[in-house]
Amino acid sequence: MTAHKQTNLKPRMNDQQEEFFLDGHNPAGTHEPLDFALETQFAEQDHGEAPVQENLLFDREYSENPSNSPQIDLDGMSKPIHQVTVKQYETTQNLAFQHANNLLESLEAQDVAVQYQCREGYCGSCRVQLLEGEVHYIDEPMAWVNSDEVLPCCCIPKTAIRIKLP
């Protein structure tokens, strides 16, 4: 299991959009994918304006067969990265989602401590508030989610997002 440190939530840098951190602290500039299977293949797909809760399932084919991904053709280009702005108490952090399997893993890799139990969408422990943007659920979440909340353990950002931790 990953070790989870309590986070020091001081903003790590000023609000420059180009300079946010990658999952797991990839050194700046290394935007090249290290492991294709870890990529999110859905970063730039348009899923329309459906509300978060009603757009639960997407086609698993892509995630299981990376070769089906339209992004395979984007040789040499950097992957789309979504900015993730995390608010907790009075602090704001600018992070990025790129390599992780889900938003929870991405946040943990960037030293943000999010509560969890099941890590598969049925307990609700990881609930965070989605202030802005959209997410996509990899698995249909079973836990109760209020209309302004998302479960990071089973979703990935679809756009740049702003979330508020409890």
């Binding site: 969890y116 099941c118 609700g124 609930r127 836990a143 109760w144």
Partner: protein
């Protein structure tokens, strides 16, 4: 309304509320009003486990090495867990089945309650492996004042609902004289009692149980009683699902689409709901006082456990859409998450096999790996 095991009326299931509509007839799942209950059933079935699969061979030695006040903490916590699961293993069935109106919800209640009986059986498995005389421990649950007081608070809503519903099914709505006592039975009040009972069940599983999990895992954090912790992890996995179940039921009720009267009741009961959460939190803190009366253990004491009580109470009440009570910020037990997560529970069937031969017969310090080559 009187209860019948197979309602002869034909009616549109999709028009029935979750409770207090037509009693169920055909156990069919081809049309479902609330699909969530089918999902919960599927998930719960996939979780099936047997206590005997978990090897407790080293726990007896660990237990013997505990200091007296640590033994008190361990056993009292286990007694409390036994009490809670004794209640949960039957009460959802007895209280909710006579009034349920949707087959998928009926089956969820049965599946839910059945999983609690696995929890109860696992406590016997633990006791047999850890203490020389399990009967002493079990007997104390009905004799020890501190425990019986806990029993009253976890059963009073269930018991009230069961009593009122039995009058309702036999006598219907109205003012009845029962054994010289005047009892007023009306459906609105029954639904209100049901709503508050469901809240108290959520509190039982989502707060009280989690406080007890914290104690179990505090031992394992120090590499003690690790077999016990494995079992508690499996129990915690089930409870996470159960609390999701009651959260859904409560939120469906509050939304009022399933039953508009329930929506009204939920809106008018907010203060009482808060009271139920607050009362439970206070009782759990008081219980922490009893657990640690003779001393704390490394990593956990009365103050920290009380902070956890406040933290988890806030988490759970907020999930129901109500404001937090204590305004807590951080989880005071950050290490608990990885214990609550069950991904890393591994049960080795052949080891479990051997451990059942070992019960009471062999020194538990024997490394079970030594038996690796034996074919029993």
């Amino acid at each position: 309304m009187s209860y019948t095991t197979f309602n002869q009326n034909s009616f549109d299931t999709l028009k029935q509320p979750m409770f207090f509509g037509e009693t169920v007839n055909v156990a069919r799942y081809d049309i479902q009003k609330h699909k969530i209950f089918e999902n919960l059933i599927e998930k719960q079935l996939s979780f099936f486990w047997r206590p005997e699969e978990v090897d407790l061979a080293n726990d007896r030695k660990d237990f013997n090495d505990l200091l007296d006040h640590e033994k008190h903490i361990f056993l009292s916590n286990l007694k409390y867990q036994t009490l809670l699961d004794s209640v949960q293993g039957r009460s959802p069935n007895v209280a909710f089945l006579p009034i349920v109106s949707l087959p998928e919800l009926e089956t969820w209640i049965e599946t839910w309650s059945f999983s609690e009986t696995i929890h109860s059986r696992s406590y016997t498995h633990i006791m047999r492996n850890v203490v020389p005389n399990p009967a002493e421990v079990f007997d104390d649950i009905t004799r020890n004042d501190f425990i019986t007081r806990r029993a009253v608070s976890v059963t009073k809503y269930y018991d009230e609902l069961i009593e009122k519903c039995s009058f309702y099914t036999q006598l219907g709505e109205g003012t009845h004289t029962i054994n010289g006592k005047i009892v007023d039975i009306n459906l609105y009040d029954l639904k209100r009692t049901l709503y508050l009972t469901m809240v108290s069940v959520n509190v039982l599983e989502a707060i009280r149980f989690y406080v007890s999990f914290a104690c179990s895992f505090a031992f394992a954090e120090r590499a003690k009683m690790e077999g016990n912790a494995k079992i508690i992890k499996l129990i915690a996995r089930d409870e996470a699902l159960h609390l999701t179940g009651t959260q859904h039921i409560l939120q469906i009720m509050a939304a009022g689409k399933d039953d508009p009267v329930m929506g009204e009741i939920a809106a008018s009961c907010k203060e009482e709901v808060r009271e139920i959460f607050l009362e439970a939190a206070n009782q759990e803190k008081e219980w922490a006082g009893y657990l640690f009366k003779d001393g704390s253990m490394l990593g956990l004491n009365q103050t920290i456990l009380a902070q956890y009580v406040e933290y988890i109470t806030d988490q759970r009440i907020v999930a129901l859409g109500l404001p937090p009570i204590f305004e807590t910020k951080n989880n005071p037990l950050p290490w608990i998450n990885s214990w609550l997560n069950s991904d890393n529970v591994q049960v080795a069937p052949q080891e479990a096999e051997i451990s059942s031969y070992l019960v009471g017969a062999l020194d538990s310090a024997v490394d079970t790996n030594d038996f690796g080559d034996f074919d029993l």
